[in-house]
């Protein structure tokens, strides 16, 4: 299980790197897509231009002021994933402690302990998680960020006009 995950992770990383090497002629940053880790491996300024370097701000400074700049993580992916487990999923992961206890106690009029009630509640829970978490947060909203930061304040910041 662990080995499989590690291999999959390696593949993801490889494919992102491979894309860069194979299309070596154009050193553009690979397009960010749903399952791609390329943007985690570092920031590549698009088309490094010698002239710009001479007269303009340094590439690092340009990168820092880029609106679309994403987080550049330096820790290993396994470390990040393990860290994310604790911080990100503590709340949603401990919901099984009280969710069904609450539903089958507080909503006895509908959530009855029979096949229709139990399967119905299981189905509602599963599809709520699929639509709200898998599709909306993991799938779509995660794409919007304010220099790598997420959260409702970051989303709001994208709408605040900058000087």
């Amino acid at each position: 299980m662990n080995g499989l995950r590690r291999r999959r992770r390696a593949q993801v990383a490889d494919s992102a790197e491979g894309e860069l090497k194979e299309n070596g002629s154009s050193p553009t940053r690979p397009k960010q897509s749903f399952n791609e880790a390329g943007h985690k491996l570092g920031y590549w300024p698009t088309r490094p231009d010698a002239r710009v370097k001479e007269i303009g701000p340094s590439a690092a400074l340009q990168a820092a002021s880029d609106e679309g700049r994403d987080v550049v993580a330096h820790a290993g992916k396994a470390v990040l994933a393990l860290g994310a487990l604790g911080v990100v999923y503590g709340d949603i992961g401990t919901s099984p402690l009280y969710t069904q206890q609450f539903i089958f106690t507080a909503h006895r009029n509908a959530a009855m302990p029979d096949v229709a009630g139990v399967y119905g509640i299981a189905s509602l829970i599963f599809w709520t998680l699929m639509i709200e978490v898998s599709l909306k947060y993991a799938g779509f909203i995660m794409r919007a960020h304010n220099r790598g930061d997420g959260g409702i304040m970051a989303l709001t910041a994208r709408r605040v006009p900058r000087c």
Binding site: V71, S134, T156, R159
Partner: protein, 342 residues
């Protein structure tokens, strides 16, 4: 207008930030009731002590113990997954519950009652906001990866296992000791499970507290909050401690535990803020997608309809909880939002 919505969303986040530690620690320590009913009088005092200690320790940051969080939650997921699986193997029929047809049938059969039940179902996705709020710390890919490979499978095994358990002994739900989570645990392992679950909920609470600190910091940076004293607890970026927020949260959480006294009662006030935030996030996301990425309108319409239909159903259902005390998180949200707009 959109900014006001965002501010109100952040305010609601604080309202939730108080309930998460209270309900989760109470529910974990509540496992003592399954160990022995004679221990039930310990649940509230023990929960308060644990939570107070957590808030007192905030100023030291999570540096010394932070590395434990991941492995402990991983162990927790492994254990709840195995416990659920054990139950599912005995009643494999419960896997049919993964089909959306059962949800649809439930909604049609029970009408208004089914809609009210959504106020309970929403508890399963409280904390979904964290996937996005913590994007800046971990990046999108590790968060997505762990959700699909570890978290979603583990919690679903637990939910389905609890469902199978309820079906195997339907009378149990009317018992005052009904607790489908801890009743899945073999008796000899109950005490270790209470300890593990408590550790997991402490980590969940820590995440909620840290989340409130970072929302406060972002709000200060954006000029929505007056400059608060922010202490950096380590050299790593993101490790911050905001004393004012800490003590407001601490007072709120302790009051909630002492007044409501059980996770079942807190379930009645949890959810309004969560679903309100969902709706605000969807609206903001649609606006950002339209303005920045020029996503075609028909795609936004499809996504917006799907998400908002689900979310408005949940939100209106949760509004019915206002009479039970759900005005509390809403009130906190309103107060914080007013302070930010002022």
């Amino acid at each position: 207008m959109l900014i006001t919505l965002g501010i109100f969303g952040a305010g609601l986040f604080f309202g939730d930030g108080m309930i998460t530690p209270a309900i989760s620690v109470l529910s974990a320590v509540g496992g003592l009731n399954v160990v022995s009913t004679s221990l039930s009088h310990l649940i509230v005092p023990l929960s308060v002590v644990i939570l107070l200690a957590l808030f007192v320790l905030q100023r030291f940051g999570t540096g010394a113990v932070g590395w434990l969080f991941g492995p402990v939650i991983l162990l927790f997921f492994a254990v709840i997954g195995i416990l659920g699986l054990k139950e599912i193997v005995q009643h494999p029929g419960v896997l049919q519950g993964l089909s959306p047809s059962w949800a649809v049938r439930f909604m049609i059969d029970h009408g208004v009652y089914a809609w009210l039940t959504l106020g309970g179902v929403v508890l399963c996705c409280t904390g979904a906001e964290a996937l996005y709020a913590d994007r800046g710390h971990f990046g999108a890919t590790p968060i997505r990866m762990t959700w699909f490979t570890i978290v979603l499978p583990a919690v679903m095994l637990s939910y389905l296992g609890q469902g199978a358990f309820i079906l195997s002994d339907p009378k149990n739900v009317s018992s005052p000791n009904f607790n489908p989570f801890f009743q899945l645990v073999p008796h000899g392992l109950l005490v270790p499970m209470v300890v593990l679950a408590t550790a997991a909920t402490i980590i969940a609470s820590q995440a909620a507290i840290t989340g409130s600190f970072s929302v406060a910091k972002q709000a200060v940076q954006l000029g929505f909050l007056p400059r608060l004293r922010i202490v950096h607890t380590s050299n790593l970026e993101g490790q911050i401690y905001v004393p004012v927020i800490n003590w407001i949260l601490c007072a709120g959480v302790a009051t909630l535990v002492l007044v409501f006294r059980s996770s079942n009662k807190l379930g009645d006030i949890y959810g309004v803020a969560v679903t309100g935030t969902f709706i605000l996030n969807t609206i903001l996301f649609l606006a950002v997608a339209r303005a920045l990425w020029h996503t075609p309108k028909w795609r936004l319409a499809v996504l917006g309809t799907l998400f908002l239909t689900v979310e408005v159903a949940f939100f209106t259902s949760n509004l019915s909880k206002i009479g039970h005390g759900a005005y509390l998180p809403l009130g906190v949200g309103l107060v914080v939002a007013t302070v930010m707009i002022r």
